[in-house]
């Protein structure tokens, strides 16, 4: 039976697969190609939804962009409409936007008068610098706290961690940011002031846009330390919120796994707790946790506007707010597109990681 199977399987499964490989590539590549095509369609959908929603907002971008007197002058208004293509029918504006998008051109911001790509390229690293730091810290802390809470279910530790995580989730980030800034900067003098660098430092030469990394590239250790110190408070605020979220999810996921037979079996075999936790429990809980981590990271990339406001952090959130409040259509479209793409990329990365973590997913695909 075994021999028969070993003979027939290659002829029924592997050889045709190999034949398909020659024509259409590896199954994983086909899967990735499908995902990429779907993502491209989704991006077009994002542009359409953003465009429609932005234009549905009552209000005239001319009124928002021009001063009171300038907006009364027909010649100035006409020049503005022509310059930004607002004199064209909406459908033509949309297709012009799509055409420009194919060339990597997101238009020119009516607020900053800069190409939107330049604005976003300047704002994204600022947000990435705090978001990446926050998600790494949050995962490290949240997984530990969530696991401890699950293991101590119903005990004092669990109750304390529940209160802590709920506090992290429910305290308004704007308020928390202001309080922490007041305490750590003004009262305790252990954190620097707002912004990405102290005012007596020059911005390091731009390579990545991440000040810490760029300072190291430039060999400016003092700038690196100053930039790293400025990350402390914004990252702390974002981490406190995200840790609250992750602790709750990890606890739930671990509790589900703890009730599984294979965990009971591992314990019954007398395996050390550390081995049971790392090799059985956390591995089993990692798929749902990874989903939440992906969502939390997407949220950090797009939803840090209040924290950015308090710490004078010129990131994507601040840019989005300014663009929206000035009805800066190219700016709003650019941010919408960027956030859409980031979510898609994060989701794609999470999907691919499912395959790495869970053999069932890998084998199924």
């Amino acid at each position: 039976m075994t021999a028969a199977t070993s003979v027939t399987k290659p002829s029924r499964g592997r050889r045709p697969t190999a034949a398909r490989d020659g024509a259409n590539g590896h199954p994983f590549l086909r899967y990735a190609l499908r995902r990429v095509i779907t993502s491209l369609l989704l991006i077009v959908g994002v542009t359409l939804v953003t465009f429609v929603l932005t234009n549905l907002v009552p209000g005239d971008p001319v009124a928002a962009a021009l001063g009171q007197r300038a907006a009364e002058d027909p010649a100035i208004v006409a020049r503005f409409r022509t310059e930004y293509g607002l004199d064209q029918p909406l459908w033509l504006q949309y297709f012009t936007y799509l055409g420009n998008l194919l060339h990597g051109n997101l238009g020119v911001s009516t607020t900053t008068h800069n190409p939107v790509t330049s604005d976003l390229a300047a704002a994204l690293p600022a947000t990435l610098e705090i978001a990446v730091s926050a998600i790494i810290l949050s995962v490290a802390i949240g997984v530990v706290l969530g696991t401890v809470a699950a293991y101590r279910r119903g005990k004092v530790t669990d109750h304390v961690l529940r209160v802590v995580s709920l506090a992290g989730l429910s305290v308004p980030t704007f308020w928390l940011a202001l309080v922490l800034y007041y305490v750590f900067y003004f009262q305790l003098h252990i954190a620097p002031g707002s912004g990405r660098l102290s005012s007596d430092f020059n911005t390091p030469p731009t390579v990545t846009g991440l000040y810490t990394i760029d300072a190291l590239f430039a060999g400016q250790l003092d700038t690196f330390l100053d930039a790293a110190a400025h990350l402390f408070l914004p990252v702390l605020v974002l981490t406190l919120y995200t840790v609250g979220l992750l602790t709750r999810f990890v606890r739930t996921a671990v509790l589900e796994i703890l009730d599984q037979d294979f965990v009971r079996a591992a314990r019954a075999k007398g395996l050390p707790t550390r081995t049971v936790v790392w090799s059985y429990v956390l591995r089993g809980a990692s798929v749902p946790v990874l989903t939440v981590v992906g969502l939390a990271f997407g949220s950090l990339l797009s939803g840090t506007v209040l924290v950015e406001a308090v710490f004078s952090w010129p990131g994507i959130g601040s840019y989005a707010y300014n663009a929206a409040s000035h009805l800066d259509l190219p700016g709003v479209m650019g941010v919408g597109l960027l956030i859409g793409v980031m979510y898609l990329l994060v989701n794609l990365a999470v999907d691919l990681l499912y395959g790495v973590i869970d053999p069932r997913v890998r084998l199924a695909s």
């Binding site: 209000g59 928002a64 907006a71 002058d73 800034y181 002031g193 004078s312 010129p314």
Partner: protein, 524 residues
């Protein structure tokens, strides 16, 4: 196993050597002068450009004031009197011809000397770009008379032109440098990118770097002809009001420009606070177009609202530095009404006027920009207080908040029944407030068509014609008395402008055009 400690030691040694090499090979990212001569200013940015011919925002006014010199200027915070800048003025009696002669030598940051050609180019560029500040020179013709003299002519009397010429948007550019980087006097001009990276002026500072959303860095101009500024380097950073307060207390900022009246309270010790009424004027408009509202277009109803409002209460909620607006022209300008000329609350008279109007308790919509905060005063807070005051007087108001970008349309189209807005001076001359008369910009926004009130229009015409300073003062005061009596506008507040500065900083004076003159700030 025996080798492990040795390996560890070798690894540790290698790391130590690498770190030592790294530190030894590092340069410093600090500025050459260090912090001692760096001035840090916190401002909530509304910055769009540093190109003076395109700039017309408060942050830009402050930045360009430091980078560019103007033909005429103001001294300190007094915007009621124009003084020579790089030129002296000779004005014709009919206020139609303005001869400006360059005085002394003025050197641009590249070492070249300013000439009449630079003046003509700079002013014509403002006109030709059709940007936000172009209206300042509407109807003005610019001509060179000789290398030192420029003549500006207008077809109608323009007594406000001298005050307009003090605006940093009309700063004088180095025409050769700007032309070399795409500058022209038409809409084909492409020099903005250059002027956002480097300045081309003769002011006390040059632009070192500009990030529209976060930071502007200025360094002192070694070629500047005037008194060298006290600070070699100035960092203007984009910071929200609440953070500004903590920054100036903690020393992260030397000057904070956007504190609300509430935030300014309690600041003392190493921080000085200057609280003065700003040049902004917050007002209510009641639409006079019966097609929009039969109620608000009733003169007795307008009178009832005027007398029902508790102005002192509104001043108290706005906080430090705020005063009641006596008329539409703010107190810092020529022609402002004295406090005694302000509308006062009279509840009995309000009830009588309300009864006479035939008002039967209908709800009337009060529209306002929900996301607008002016000098730290939030419009929703103000609208709610007005609603409750009017309710006490028997007038029912429904609040209709909307984002400013949305509500502007209704305001400009004249479709609001009652509107809560503000007017900041486009230039510090009372003629800017003729917009509040029938048939003019804000008059039309309140449904007040030309001819709706011939008496007020006649007063406005007299004021527009100009005259001596004393005559103009009387003309504009007469106009405002009439507006307070029978106009559809209710001047409410001049919100306080609160500037907090470290005690080591001297010379902090609020100016209605450029907020503060950075070059005038000193050190103890």
């Amino acid at each position: 196993m025996a080798l492990r400690p040795a390996k560890t030691r070798i690894a540790a040694g290698a790391v130590a050597v690498a770190l030592t090499l790294l530190v030894a090979g590092c340069s410093s990212g600090k500025t050459a002068d260090g912090a001692s001569k760096t001035l840090t200013i916190d401002k909530t940015f509304d910055l769009k450009t540093a190109d003076p011919s395109r700039m017309y925002e408060p942050t830009g006014e402050m930045v360009d004031k430091a980078l560019y010199e103007t033909l005429l200027t103001f001294k300190g915070g007094d915007v009621s009197k124009v003084v020579p800048g790089v030129a002296k003025l000779d004005e014709s009696t009919d206020a139609k011809t303005f001869t400006l002669t360059l005085t002394g030598t003025h050197t641009f940051s590249d070492g070249s000397t300013m000439s009449a050609d630079d003046v003509v180019f700079s002013l014509n560029r403002v006109i030709g770009l059709k940007g936000n500040p172009s209206f300042l020179l509407d109807g003005v013709t610019v001509a060179k008379k000789d290398d030192k003299t420029v003549v500006l002519t207008t077809k109608v009397p323009t007594p406000a032109l001298p005050a307009i010429l003090a605006n940093p948007a009309l700063g004088i550019l180095n025409s050769k440098v700007v032309k070399a980087h795409g500058g022209s006097t038409t809409t084909s001009d492409s020099a903005e990118k250059y002027l956002n990276s480097q300045s081309a002026g003769s002011g006390p500072y040059i632009l070192s770097s500009l990030n529209l959303s976060s930071k502007v860095v200025l360094t002192s101009n070694p070629k500047y002809d005037g008194t060298k500024p006290a600070y070699d380097r100035v960092v203007i950073q984009n910071v929200e009001g609440a953070t500004q307060k903590i920054n100036v207390q903690g020393g992260n900022a030397d000057v904070a420009l956007d504190l609300s009246g509430t935030q300014a309270k309690g600041l003392s010790g190493s921080v000085n606070v200057s609280s003065t009424p700003s040049a902004n004027m917050i007002f209510l408009l009641l639409n006079q177009n019966p097609a929009i509202s039969k109620i608000t277009s009733n003169p007795d109803f307008v009178k009832a609202v005027k007398q029902a409002i508790d102005y002192k209460d509104l001043v108290s909620i706005a906080g430090a530095g705020t005063s009641q607006a006596s008329g539409v022209i703010p107190s810092v300008l020529l022609g402002a009404l004295p406090e005694s000329g302000a509308i006062t609350q009279d509840t009995a008279a309000a009830k009588a006027a309300l009864a006479k109007s035939g008002y039967a308790g209908e709800s009337i919509t009060l529209s306002f920009p929900s996301d607008l905060t002016l000098n730290g005063l939030e419009f929703p807070t103000l609208a709610q207080r007005i609603q409750s005051q009017l309710k006490a007087a028997g007038i029912n108001v429904d609040l209709a908040p909307a984002p400013v970008a949305t509500e502007l349309d209704a305001y400009r189209n004249g479709t609001e029944k009652i509107g809560l807005w503000y007017w900041g001076p486009d230039y510090p001359d009372p003629s800017d407030y003729l917009v509040f008369t029938p048939g003019n910009v804000v008059g039309l926004r309140s449904g007040w068509a030309a001819g709706a009130n011939p008496a007020i229009s006649s007063l406005a015409d007299k004021a527009a014609a100009g005259g001596s300073v004393a005559e103009r003062k009387t003309q504009f005061q007469d106009l405002q008395k009439a507006l307070n009596e029978s106009g559809p506008f209710i001047p409410l507040l001049q919100p306080g402008n609160n500037i907090a500065s470290a005690s080591k900083v001297t010379g902090v004076v609020y100016n209605a055009v450029w907020t503060i003159d950075i070059a005038a700030l000193g050190r103890k």
